[in-house]
Amino acid sequence: MCNQAVCLVAAELERHAISTVAIQLLRHVAERVRPPRALFVPFRHGYPLDAPGEPRRQHAVIEAALEMLEDPDLEAPALRDY
């Protein structure tokens, strides 16, 4: 449900001219709900940015997400694997 909630909020932010990228833990959900930009991460629920107390690993996920914002070739809906 969390995955759907952030997808729906992301869509509303985009309608307000805010560019978004949503981390997604379930490809099943991302493919159905279709947020504008989604980064599918291979982590279990509760660990969306990889590992606690690991800033480098968290930054790596965040950076991959930010790069989606900067990619001029992406088209909606964009789903990328981490």
Partner: protein, 160 residues
């Protein structure tokens, strides 16, 4: 990894048959300037609140679609995780709230110039919302308007 197989059988059936809402058409806002000039806000669905904020209301059928404003200069130790789901391990969030609301990572992005500024607030939802009608009609538009008023250009959204 984040797969339906993580969940007990009954939940797997529910998640496979649940009528997922479909965003259609998919809105698209391209970056209008370099990320290094953009204002960033975070949106988490981990149900974080501050000690003086009301908890999310677990009695609301279909889930509480409200959100809390979390100042972007918050001390991470102040964040209280209140997500109601028993379907995931909360241990990581208890050890490090940055895992789902990366407030310290965001400040580091600002310090190194990767982003231009931080919004005054980040937003916290409690994402266990099975009936998202009020979310889509009311609270998500309110959240978007809040961030837009703050001049936010980009948002990173993190579920749990």
């Amino acid at each position: 990894m984040g797969e339906l197989a993580e969940f007990p059988f009954g939940w797997r059936v529910f998640l496979r048959t649940y009528p997922w809402r479909r965003v259609d058409p998919v809105p698209w806002t391209p970056l209008s300037k370099p990320l290094s000039e953009c204002r960033l806000a975070l949106v988490s669905s981990a149900g974080f609140v501050l000690p003086d904020q009301p908890r999310f209301d677990e009695s609301i059928r279909g889930g509480d679609p409200s959100f809390r404003e979390i100042p972007s200069d918050v001390e991470v130790s102040e964040l209280v995780e209140t997500h109601r789901s028993a379907l995931f391990d909360h241990g990581g969030l208890a050890r490090d709230p940055n895992l789902a609301l990366p407030v310290e990572r965001a400040r580091e992005l600002l310090e190194c110039g990767r982003i231009g500024s931080l919004g005054r607030v980040h937003l916290s939802f409690m994402g266990s919302i099975t009936a998202p009608g009020r979310l889509t009609r009311q609270t998500a538009p309110e959240a978007a308007a809040r961030l837009a008023r703050d001049g936010v250009d980009v948002a990173l959204l993190v579920p749990v």
